[in-house]
Subunit: 456 residues, 2 copies
């Protein structure tokens, strides 16, 4: 039996562990699931005879090293900042390692040692980063191999609620870490290039600079810019490309309504509100509006942000109960972002029967024999249930498939890497199709970044 | 002769040094002006027989200590972060010290030693902080001594161009550090209390939440909130007050136009623009607007920020040349804020003949014998010329007056302090009147923070 050590039994590990357990007989695997909370690990194993749950505190050197030493390969599903200690043990005991996280500087710095020992440290092999890398590079490489020149690359991903569970005005529920949703886009201007021009969007305008995405049979969506699209120039070798834009997908109308929170200052995570525990939701809303005791909080907000009588934004705000004068914030010394998160969690938490959805879209513009062309590719994945969510499948399956292929020597080029080489993405994308993770492609006229251009 | 050491001969030291030189005969003073650049110090002294210019690098311990040791009292007009070394020497050689800067934690920590040696370390005794403290505390103490209870305190200061030199559409020129103007309000939400309610304004709304101030014969102005008004509760002993608000004064219409830069993202100082040196002013403006090659930068901006055809904001933008396609930014790897500063400095730099102006206003609301009352106080100072500016007078004269009064033993309570006790503010405010720095007071009906309240 070959031992696969999976560190971290959080929600996103379910499909990953199921994949490995399902293959454990044919592939002769034992799956060791290690977590601080043994119950989480046990739940994942569900008494499978080839599974084993162990307690592991990643900061306890002795037990961590023992677990790594006994394994044949290691998967870390911990938050990115916890990978490094595991990575060093993997080098010490000569084990390959797989993570779904962005390569940190510290991780990158291990490359030389990893190469010297012939190990594969595969990172960024979840959904985003992960499936986005692989599905984009597959088409980029194909376009280049035909002798064409890339002009445009745009890429969009969204974690949303599935259409069958989509029953609020925002068309949104928390299918992932709520905090990340509340503070999304903060920390600096969004940067990208369009037709060779650098463009910058400050945070407070981000949610009003969306564009529409047409995912055909899956419907129309909207996208807002991610913070740094420019780093993908060097990663994908797109130094010459005129348009480079990465974004986040939401259902249409979400961002314009979310902008209300941004404008009010409710997403701010940089200061705490003194008396927050005694505030009602209404008090919280009012704290961002001018003092004016003879006007209602409602009218002050409508006037401040110029929300028309018949604007659906208003109904969205009412749905969240932000004017409720009995519900208390309860949280002590909370930041506005923490309070907003609490208000949203009352309404946007998935119910037992709810399913989630992942959508992804790429656009590739290129010039071939003096003719400009464009390919769009897109995918949709719906979760099975609250355990095998679309998020868990799209994050976990690539990790699991990569792990087995490294273990079996099918992926073998050593080094600290991400899945942008054919050796890696071809077999993984092929196998993902068996699990319903498939991209559709369409050829469309190349419009550059100006789809509404009408001459004259 | 008693030696007064003035460290730092920047622009704001002119009136301070003139005051001391003018008094040097009658008060038997020698004024030692120390600066890294001897020319700056010499210019200030202008061959006055009781003045002496010396070179001093504040980080050179030996010469700094020697200068402090030989002095009878020390004034530091350096930026606040450079005071500490001087302060420690002042303790070592038992010299009192005066600065116009906010008391840092490190400065405050010296209090015990300063008291033990019977020294006076007077800080925050310039304009703002300085004259604002003294003029406010004088009235606050008076109100309290009459047995009344403070309900409201609002305080506003502005450094502006004098009416006779006010000849651009913004009614603004740089009379102080331009960088501080460009990044003003950044770094966190503005916080204050109005009628017992905490209020928060995020940066991107700050310039649209102004209010009008009536300074009577000096005209009407607008005020925007400073970042942290709340710290004045403990400093002034206003824990019970219902409204506490501090703000910055501009001419009416400035903030609404400045908001264009905020909304575009031009005041951002957190990232650099790669190709900034080759950009034109027009390119810079365009980098914050959506790509759309068949529309003009002008129309894109008008549409994005909904600027009407006949809005004076547009003329203000044109006046600054932000659509100019030949003027180059030149600065390399500059932040948006640095580029904006350069564009503004083309137009807002004071000319030789220009004069500046300081305006300040306080509002005091209180309850006396069950009746609510209000006092407003306000002042205006116009600069004499480009040397003895209103800024130099209002910052430097209180420093100089305090220094002499400490030297003469009229101000003697030891400790690290700011000018909020009667012993300090009474004689200084009285003497400032001789230099035209006078407050006018008016009684107005108490309206609380709701001046437009109409019942029904």
């Amino acid at each position: 039996m070959r031992k696969v050590l999976v560190i971290g039994a959080g929600r996103s590990a379910s499909s990953l562990i199921k994949y490995l357990l399902d293959k454990s007989e044919s592939e002769k695997l034992q799956i060791i699931v290690a977590d601080k909370q043994i119950e989480s690990a046990q739940r994942m194993i569900a008494n499978h005879k080839n599974g084993k749950a162990i307690v592991l505190d990643v900061f306890e050197e002795e037990s961590r090293r023992k677990a790594v030493q006994e394994a044949n390969i290691v998967i870390s599903m911990l938050p990115a900042r916890f990978h490094l200690e595991v990575a060093k043990d993997c080098i010490k005991y000569e084990k390959s390692m797989v993570t779904a996280s962005y390569i940190s500087k510290e991780m990158q710095a291990l490359n030389e040692e990893v190469v010297a020992k012939g190990l594969v440290f595969m990172n960024e092999i979840g959904l985003d980063p992960g499936i986005d890398h692989m599905s984009a590079m597959q088409i980029i490489d194909r376009i280049r191999e035909n002798g064409a020149k890339l002009l445009l690359f745009e890429s969009f991903t969204g974690g949303l609620v599935a259409p069958e569970s989509d029953n609020n005005l925002w068309n949104y529920k928390f299918t992932w870490n709520p905090r990340n949703v509340v503070v999304a886009g903060q920390g600096g201007a969004a940067k990208f290039i369009q037709e060779g021009k650098y463009k910058y969007i400050p945070y407070h305008k981000l949610f009003r600079r969306t564009e529409i995405l047409n995912l055909r049979e899956y419907g129309k969506f909207e996208a807002l810019a991610n913070r740094d699209s420019l780093k993908y120039r060097s990663i994908y070798g797109l130094e010459e490309v005129l348009t480079l834009y990465r974004g986040t997908i939401r259902k249409i109308g979400f961002s314009r309504a979310w902008n209300v929170f941004v404008q009010l200052g409710m997403t701010d995570d940089s200061y705490t509100i003194d008396d927050s525990e005694n505030m009602t939701y209404r008090d919280f809303t009012n704290s961002f509006l001018a003092y004016s005791p003879h006007d209602s909080v409602e009218l002050k907000l409508r006037h401040y942000l110029k929300i028309d009588q018949d604007d659906v934004i208003w109904e969205k705000l009412l749905e969240l109960d932000i004017f409720n004068d009995t519900k208390k914030v309860v949280l002590k010394k909370a930041t506005p972002a923490q309070i907003l998160q609490k208000i949203l969690m009352d309404k946007w938490t998935l119910k037992e029967e709810d399913k989630d959805m992942i959508v992804m879209m790429h656009k590739f513009g290129y010039e071939y024999q003096n003719e400009k062309r464009q390919i769009n590719s897109y995918m949709q994945v719906i979760g099975d249930d609250q355990t095998y969510t679309a998020m868990a499948k799209t994050v976990g399956l690539p990790v699991a498939i990569a792990t087995l292929k490294i273990l079996n020597g099918e992926i073998k080029t050593p080094g600290v890497q991400l899945p942008i080489t054919k050796e890696v993405y071809e077999p993984i994308l092929k196998e993902l199709e068996e699990y319903g993770i498939t991209f559709k492609e369409e050829k469309v006229p190349y419009l550059g970044y100006n789809p509404e251009f009408v001459n004259g």
